[in-house]
Amino acid sequence: MEHIVIIGNGIAGITAARHIRKKSDKKITVISAENKYFFSRTALMYVYMGHMKFEHTQPYEDWFWKKNKINLKEGFVEKVNTNNKTLVFTSGETLTYDKLIIAVGSKPNKFGWSGQDLEGVTGMYSKQDLEKIETLAPNAMVCKRAVIVGGGLIGIELAEMLRSRNIPVTFLVRENSFWDMVLPSGESQMINNHIKEHHIDLRLGANLKEILPDENGKARAVVIAETGEEIACDFVGLTAGVSPNINFLKESGIAIGRGVKVNKFLETNIPDVYAIGDCAEQQEPVNGRRPIEAVWYTGRIMGETVAQTISGTKTAYQPGHWFNSAKFLDIEYQTYGWVHGLGGKPDYEEQFHWKHPQKNSCVTLAYHKETNQFLGINTFGIRMRHEVFNRWLNEKKSIDYVIENLREANFDPEFYSGFEPFIKKAFFHLSKTLQK
């Protein structure tokens, strides 16, 4: 029986395992050094905040794996020997495979800051990181101040976590406005204000110079590069993005760049070795997507796709229109299609921005300057239907059509007063003014 071995039990690896099982009787082994059972990484923050217990982050009950004959192996793979198809674990154990799927995910970025490996400094990615944070910052008595370095999605989540235990937080953001490489300025500024509303000490345009140790080698303060200011703290969170966790592959002969290089069938340069999820680097990205996307659903789709190929239906990875979502403290964010911030905004992209005068609700719609084709939408504090925007993007609807029919796409709970009439009015008022 063919033995499929999957390194990594995140959403990509587990989806691959489940779908291979649906289609075949192959022997499947999933390896993890983090936790025996699959859990949702995105929910780790809720465990610290007391919204959930760790067991609630596990989407399948423990009996599921045995019932579906998916073997779970705990261990850390140190070396991949592709010549004799063998994995070597740090424990010295070995495991042979017929087909190998690499789904090892990411690790937090560290940019060579002085003091980045001190005690009291951690990223926020794995279950082990969470346990470290629980020890270092259990409450405001032990952790009198925390400093978070890097203003992305994980950074703001870590800030929310620490604030849930009333720990004072200083949040260093390199950009001049929160996440402004991705978000248009109106949105980015609304989030700046919301961060401050949560009593987070937001420092924009601030880079980390170094982390200073105390006499025991534990972080005691950070220094800001621009001002030289020293901020005393008991905990430093490094959240300046993530990158593929692929050091163990360096001598394997598997081609790596920033991630594991794969073609559109998710195959590496070595036969019978595939890579999926956060650690895969697409050599021919499609639909305006980046080569590496550390996003939940792309991991899931890659898992579904590689399962098809391994079960005999060779299938290309074809993610559809870009979409994503996040939550910035209390503000929900969804995006469909492409709306650019400062980073890589094309010349033809025009944007219409509407913000509610008081509430934390706003939308930005992007459209083509010449053809008026709708390109994408960002929404804050308003839920929208994925299915509808997917259809409109496929049908290349015009911006006027989208504005006119925005209500159809609304996904807010019942009885919510929709803002569509205001958005419509503002848009057509603006376009009239422009015509004059």
């Binding site: 409450n139 659903y297 019942e414």
Partner: protein, 526 residues
């Protein structure tokens, strides 16, 4: 770092700090409760009415003010910080104390009301006597233990409802729904029946929204006689009881799902959604719990149908002198009705039932109709057991132990909806319809789900919402009461309660959006 601090991080890294105003509000609320308890010792109170009003107002003010202070000044949004760290809400000491206290209260209330001061004959004493003036004011009679219970119950829904509204003030669905349960409890369960009793003394106590089979006693002889002896209004109420169960309920459940009742109108649901809200996450999400739920709740439904048939049968006449319905026509009618309902389900919805559901349905049908037929061959003791025994068994096991002692007493241990999920025959009846003939569903939003599990954790009915959402499948479950909290706590805007076309309700999206090709059809092709 010293040792103590490290210890705290493991067990209780989270200490909610009470503000001065919260402390004062707690003081007021607990003093109000204390005054009530004091009356148990038969202390002569100068003027009972004032004492009662003062203590009840203190209760209401304390709870609602505490709720207001808990969320005041915080940005609008989900307020679940520390839920799993707190003793009260994570089965700690406070949780157990509360559970024991509530359970004992229910045992005394149901089985030993004399300890509360209830006197079968003669003047009430203690707590019950304290409520006498209010009872006399509303319905003209001295209080009973049920009047005391009803008043406290209404106060609980009302005050904790205010707290709930502050907590979810960003969510209009939750606010409106809560105002609805507060209204139905105060007006329909509390005020109207008392006033009706005052206006018409032969009329049985009637909570118009408490429908059969939840109100299993609705068609017992003393009630039916009471209705029939009260003229047009009595007859109207009797007919309304029948129409509400057999016509209005199916129509509303078809249009809106069972939520129109369970989380908008029902008193049990009202208490669960307000006072029970802090415990909603304690419901079991295990598949084994779901299995138990399906057998148990439908068994109670079968039990209540049999019991009610037997009770009604026992007092109907052999001929049509007293009631126009005779024993035989009634039995044939019940058998015919159940056969028709069963036949319709099997003809139209056979394929939507899983194997165990089919066995269960056939079993239930055979038991009910079999026993009814058996009666014709053997003669007069329907079901071999006297109706009175059946009635007593149901009232004791289901009416008192299950819905009261376990249903509410175990809030801090089993979550707030244990009765609604495992025992309520009304929920069972509407659940079958919701699963098979209804426009209601929870829609999932394309490929946005990140499997975080907030929805499943906070589902009071123990539905593993995430299992559906992460597959892009709509949630169509018999047990869903439509409280809307899964949708509220979802950080990615994935869930929406909707009434839509029954077509394609269950698998509206076969593929998870985000992928260009239809992977699922490839998967199912094999």
């Amino acid at each position: 770092m010293n040792k103590i601090e490290h210890n705290m991080s493991v067990t209780a890294g989270y200490f909610p700090v009470l503000s001065a105003k919260q402390k004062i509000s707690l003081l007021i609320g607990i003093s109000g409760l204390f005054l009530l308890l004091l009356s148990l010792f038969n202390i002569e109170m100068p003027n009972t009415m004032s004492w009662l009003i003062i203590s009840l107002l203190m209760l209401i003010a304390g709870i609602s003010w505490y709720g207001f202070e808990s969320y005041k000044g915080l940005p609008k949004g989900i307020k679940n910080n520390g839920v799993w760290f707190r003793s009260l809400t994570n089965k700690g000491v406070l949780g157990w104390i509360t559970a024991v206290f509530l359970t004992l209260f229910y045992i005394v209330l149901y089985f030993y009301p004399q300890y509360l001061g209830f006197q079968e004959s003669g003047d009430n004493t203690g707590l019950i006597a304290l409520f006498d003036p209010l009872s006399k004011l509303l319905n003209g009679n001295p209080a009973s233990q049920w009047f005391v219970y009803g008043t406290l119950y209404t106060i609980a829904i009302f005050s904790f409802g205010i707290k709930f509204i502050f907590k979810y003030r960003h969510n209009r669905y939750e606010v409106i729904r809560t105002i609805s349960v507060m209204f139905f409890q105060t007006a329909f369960a509390f005020l109207i029946p008392e006033i009706m009793a005052r206006l018409n003394s032969t009329l049985p106590y009637t909570d118009l929204k408490n429908l059969w089979p939840l109100a299993y006693y609705n068609f017992e002889q003393y009630r039916v006689d009471g209705y029939l002896n009260s003229g047009t209004i009595g007859l109207a109420l009797l007919i309304f009881g029948l129409v509400a169960t057999f016509i209005i309920t199916p129509i509303l459940t078809y249009k809106y799902g069972k939520r129109w009742y369970c989380s908008w109108v029902c008193g049990c649901g009202g208490l669960a959604e307000t006072a029970g809200d802090p415990f909603r996450h304690l419901s079991s999400k295990k598949r084994s719990a779901w299995k138990l739920e399906r057998w148990l709740i439908h068994a109670v439904l079968v039990f209540v149908v049999l019991m009610t048939s037997a009770v009604v049968y026992s007092y109907l006449g052999e001929d049509s002198s007293k009631y126009w319905l005779t024993k035989d026509t009634f039995l044939i009618g019940v058998a015919l009705f159940i056969t028709i309902v069963f036949a319709l389900f099997f003809i139209f919805k056979r394929n939507e039932l899983k194997k165990d559901a089919r066995y269960g349905a056939i079993g239930a049908f055979v038991i009910i109709v079999g026993l009814l037929l058996l009666h014709f061959s053997t003669g007069n003791t329907l079901f071999f057991i006297p109706a009175e025994t059946l009635k007593k068994a149901y009232g004791f096991l289901i009416g008192a132990i299950f819905s009261g002692v376990i249903g509410v007493g175990f809030y801090p241990l089993l979550g707030s909806r244990a009765w609604c999920r495992f025992g309520c025959p009304m929920a069972a009846m509407m659940g079958i319809q919701q699963r098979l003939f209804s426009k209601f569903r929870i829609t999932t939003n394309g490929g946005q789900c990140i499997s975080c599990g907030n929805c499943s954790t906070y589902c009071e009915m123990g539905i593993d919402v995430r299992a559906y959402a992460q597959k892009g499948q709509n949630i169509v479950r018999a047990s869903c009461v439509g409280c809307g909290i899964c949708s509220a706590v979802c950080p990615r805007g994935v869930l929406k309660l909707e009434n839509g076309s029954p077509e394609n309700r269950i698998n509206s999206n076969d593929i998870l959006l985000g992928n260009e090709i239809d992977l699922l059809s490839l998967t199912t092709k094999k």
